[in-house]
């Protein structure tokens, strides 16, 4: 259910993992490579992961969701390697009996990915490149484990 891959992600494949008779709603989040961020043009992105730990942390997010939304089933696939504009970086699929929970649990998953999953992106611009860190503008890393940070 939790996968890091260097191959293109098929939305249908991730979604199929959470389909079940009890579910009436599935919400997908699909993160794609955006061309402009604050006016700056991105040419491509490079994602690097610590795969063993990243899959473990994704599973932890699924467990956290299970605690908060017991009826939810979650599947997450994140891609690594070089991605072009509009390529899919991540697909999160959450199924629930009723739709409110699917939206909420899905949004929780993407927030947590940005906090605790060891994946890094390097932006390639027209005039250079840079590894992006701390995109949540949190500088609390030295104060504790990110695993303990709960979204507000």
């Amino acid at each position: 259910m939790y996968k890091i891959t260097s191959q293109p992600i098929a939305i249908e494949e991730v979604t199929a993992k959470v389909v079940r008779p009890e579910a009436g709603a599935i919400v997908n989040f699909i993160g794609t490579v955006r061309e402009f961020t604050k006016g700056k043009r991105t040419l491509s992105l490079q994602y690097e992961a610590y795969p063993e730990m990243a899959e473990k942390q994704l599973r932890k997010i699924g467990d956290e969701i299970k605690e908060r939304w017991p009826d939810a089933v979650t599947a997450i696939t994140h891609r690594t390697g070089k991605l072009a504009i509009s390529d899919i970086a991540v697909v999160i699929a959450v199924s629930t009996p009723h739709r409110k929970d699917a939206y909420q649990a899905n949004e929780y998953a993407i927030e947590r990915i940005k906090q605790i999953v060891p994946i890094w992106k390097k932006e390639q611009w027209e005039d250079g490149e840079e590894w992006i860190g701390d995109q949540l503008q949190k500088t609390a890393y030295s104060d504790g484990k990110p695993g303990e940070v709960k979204p507000s």
Partner: protein
């Protein structure tokens, strides 16, 4: 000996995928202090993972553990 995996810009800054520490056991805080001295890297924002779990400064890293430096993440 302890092997410490590096990712993202750390790999470029240290010039290594894996850093070797010539000790059999030390705290996470001491590990970061040693790396900061050896590679002049900023360790304030670095987390350390032991066996794929985030560790606290007082946790002990021992020979045989899978150890990694985790800079602020930017996936998603």
């Amino acid at each position: 000996m302890i092997h410490v995996q590096c990712f993202a810009h750390l790999k470029e800054q240290t010039g290594q995928d894996t850093i070797t520490i010539e000790q059999s056991s030390l705290s996470v805080a001491d590990l970061l202090a040693e790396l900061s001295a050896r590679f002049s890297i900023e360790t304030d924002s670095l987390m350390v993972a032991i066996n794929e779990e985030y560790a606290s400064p007082e946790d002990i890293v021992s020979e045989g553990d899978r150890v990694a430096l985790i800079p602020p993440v930017s996936g998603g």
